[in-house]
Symmetry: D5
Subunit: 120 residues, 10 copies
């Protein structure tokens, strides 16, 4: 598993939103062994640090040959990113390509205990 790196948030006095859209996510279905494809959308309000973009790319690439279900992809990425970035809030959405005539989207969110300052 590739490590997620961070850099210091230089505007911690303001709640603002960073969204990364990754249309090239791929993993492997643990049941059939066939590849799955998804667009991942990661959106968060940083607190002390932001996620470094290149380490995010390598982290997402490290799923390429892992067998993992849709629900676990989204929840595991959310867990890893929350642990690394400690955001004020974060949402991870996986939009998975059609399989058997059915497309699937899984969306999970995390909010820090103390609500962010002054956010609408």
């Amino acid at each position: 598993m590739s490590a997620l790196e961070t850099f210091r948030n230089t505007h911690p006095g303001r709640d603002y939103v960073i969204t990364h859209t990754c249309p090239e996510f791929t993993a492997v279905c643990p049941k059939t062994g066939h590849p799955d494809f998804a667009t991942l959308v990661i959106s968060y309000v940083p607190d002390r640090v932001c996620v470094e973009l290149k380490s995010l790319k390598l982290y997402l690439q490290s799923y390429r040959n892992r067998g993992i279900y849709y629900e676990n992809v989204v929840n595991a990425i959310l867990d890893d990113l929350v642990r690394a970035v400690r955001p004020r809030s974060m949402t991870v959405e996986g939009r998975f390509n059609v399989r058997g005539g059915i497309g699937s989207v899984v969306t999970a969110s995390h909010a820090a205990r103390r609500p962010p300052r002054g956010r609408k």
Copy 2:
């Protein structure tokens, strides 16, 4: 009627949303005997279990030669899925193709008695 199967929700501590979009739904109009076509969108917050995708596909295919009205398609699928999955909340939407120059959408929702934890 094909049985809906489930698997254990491995992240029950978090409210998250799963959406399945099925553009290949077809049934038969009980009045005219002609086929109807729809895109079905099923969206839910799982509690203890999630619906297994292949059994969902077979379940939806089992409507192929049944005579059933639009309103009943959506409400019956919602009833069956709620019974099988016991979700914290669920919405089923059927977007039916144009008939007689008129397109129709039917949308029905279910919420568990106790509201889900911490959901916005």
Copy 3:
């Protein structure tokens, strides 16, 4: 004026939404005598009955050679449908084609005195 017919709502215990989109509405401008064209969108929460789709088509076709203004088209159809269906709530929207370089949309809503059960 063609009569609107209804059929019994088999799921009255649940508030759900039915939307009919009719892109082939046409009437006549009472001032110029020229035809007007619109897409009508009718959306409602049924109470005891639903509107029967073929009678809705014929009802809308009965406007074909009537002279009537935009605002009256939308309000009259809403009045007629509310009288026939007694919905928990209903919205009628008419999206009229460009005339004199200006497109127009008229949207009117009706809510029953007692608010519908458990609707968000």
Copy 4:
């Protein structure tokens, strides 16, 4: 039937193309009595005269309550326009809305005996 009027082509020395797109065409199906809707596209190289736009609008409106099949709509409009305008060439295309789940397009062309000058 409303008369088609014309005005003098002030640039007869050059072959050029005029295209009129009419998304508001409607007639009546002679079998079912139900209205049909189409977008008509009329394209021609004028010779001595061009068709006057307002008379074209009224001519197309005169089909509003006539019972006529798709194929005849397109061929009759082509015949009438060729008779009125004597173009160097002309194409009429009718794109009819979905009926019974099937959309239809009918396209017919006419070329004057002597080929137009210098056209590619």
Copy 5:
């Protein structure tokens, strides 16, 4: 300045929305003398009267050769329409074409002192 005309609202007992979209607005930049182009969207809840469509067209055309800034276009049209129509509420939006690589939208709203009845 062309006069805005009105006609009686025949359904004053109901709050409903009328939206006019005018993609052919043009005025002149007072600084450069070059023409500006915009799509204007006017949306309101009528009280006693509605704005007559042809007078609205002529009113908007009267800006064609006036030098006026974006912000004033939107606020002046809102002021004039509020004075003529006395709506329960109204919004005017001007979406101006790109100038110097930058597109601009200005949106202004007016609400009557007493809030409209029963509007959501």
Copy 6:
């Protein structure tokens, strides 16, 4: 197998094109037993007769529960239509929905021995 009916081409002196687009075609995969879905596009130059639209709808519906491969769907429909309509030329295109992450289009054409008159 539902019979294809025809009606007389009233403009045989002119080569013109009729195109029917049928987005609601469905058959069954003979290998897996799962339903396949396609949009069929049928385009032809009629000679003495045209295909009657309602019989075409019923003919296409008769594939609903037949096991048949993509290539055979398109070639069989082309063969049946050529036999029934004897067109001057005809093309049938089947655009099949994604299966296993792969979408497929099959296109077959037929031309009468003697080339049609005056066609471009």
Copy 7:
């Protein structure tokens, strides 16, 4: 009428194509006095000179308050540009906004006597 200016074509040894798209063209209908709006597309193979972009903008703006028919707009602009630029070939297309429910496109071309070198 604003003058069209040119600058020297620095690559006359090669046939290449320059296309200018002007979505902000407006003139006045000589019959009704109402403004017309169009997108103009000008495409040419330069010979010795190219048209200077700012003078083209001012030239097109000079139509703003002229009364002129669609066909004349396109043919007059083509004549003026051919006179100013002497291109190897040129096409002018005017795509006029909907009037009376009908949109219109006029397209005229010019080719120099001697065909351009080596063009496909």
Copy 8:
């Protein structure tokens, strides 16, 4: 750094929104030295002054050869504009082009201490 200029807001009695969309923003990545590209969307409710459009263009162009990270682009532009315009509220959004298969959006907002009057 090019100076931001302002002009007096002539309608300070009304809260209204001005949005500028700038699809031609470019800066340089401080790590790789390669250019970054973004669409910037600046939206605000003016108080006493509005930002002058040409000075905004020049201000944004002054980033062309500066090395600066995404987060700083958006927060610095928001800081500079708030200082120059003192808006009632303002949002700056930077939509950055794909790098390493990942697109990024950064959105930051500012609200004046005293909430704007009568805004919804």
Copy 9:
């Protein structure tokens, strides 16, 4: 390398076209080791056999962890498919995702020595 399988073409007397679109192709860049993504479009006129769809899927999946350049992806797949299917003609197109701000398409074709019968 997964083997391509074929099945007998049951309509060899007719030239027809089969097109497979595979939006889920992925390989690895031999220089950087990073994954590449592409949509592959394979189009051919079958002679004696057609390519079996599931073996095509597995064949394309076998590139998942191979280091190979864009040009070689397209040419190697064309070579392999021509060897397996011996088509009358075939085209393979690879549409590769943006890298370094540049998207790339590679298109290669093969035609059998003897031209196919009666193809337009």
Copy 10:
């Protein structure tokens, strides 16, 4: 000026097409000093070598602060690429953003003296 590098074409026996689309091209207008933006599309049939993608990116970036007209951008890039790659044929198209309400496209092509083998 950054040097264009090449690599050996490993399939010289086949004419195939490579297309690179670069939506992030920017240069400076020599008259106004303001930046210009364009999408460049480069399409060629390689002979002995292909252009290396990273050197192409750097070559295009080297225009960032050069003052150069649209026509020269396209012709100069075509000249440089032809000199470096000696393609069987090549086309360069520059699609420049709107300036003064006018968008511009310049397209230039080059063909080697001896026509490529067997190309359609």
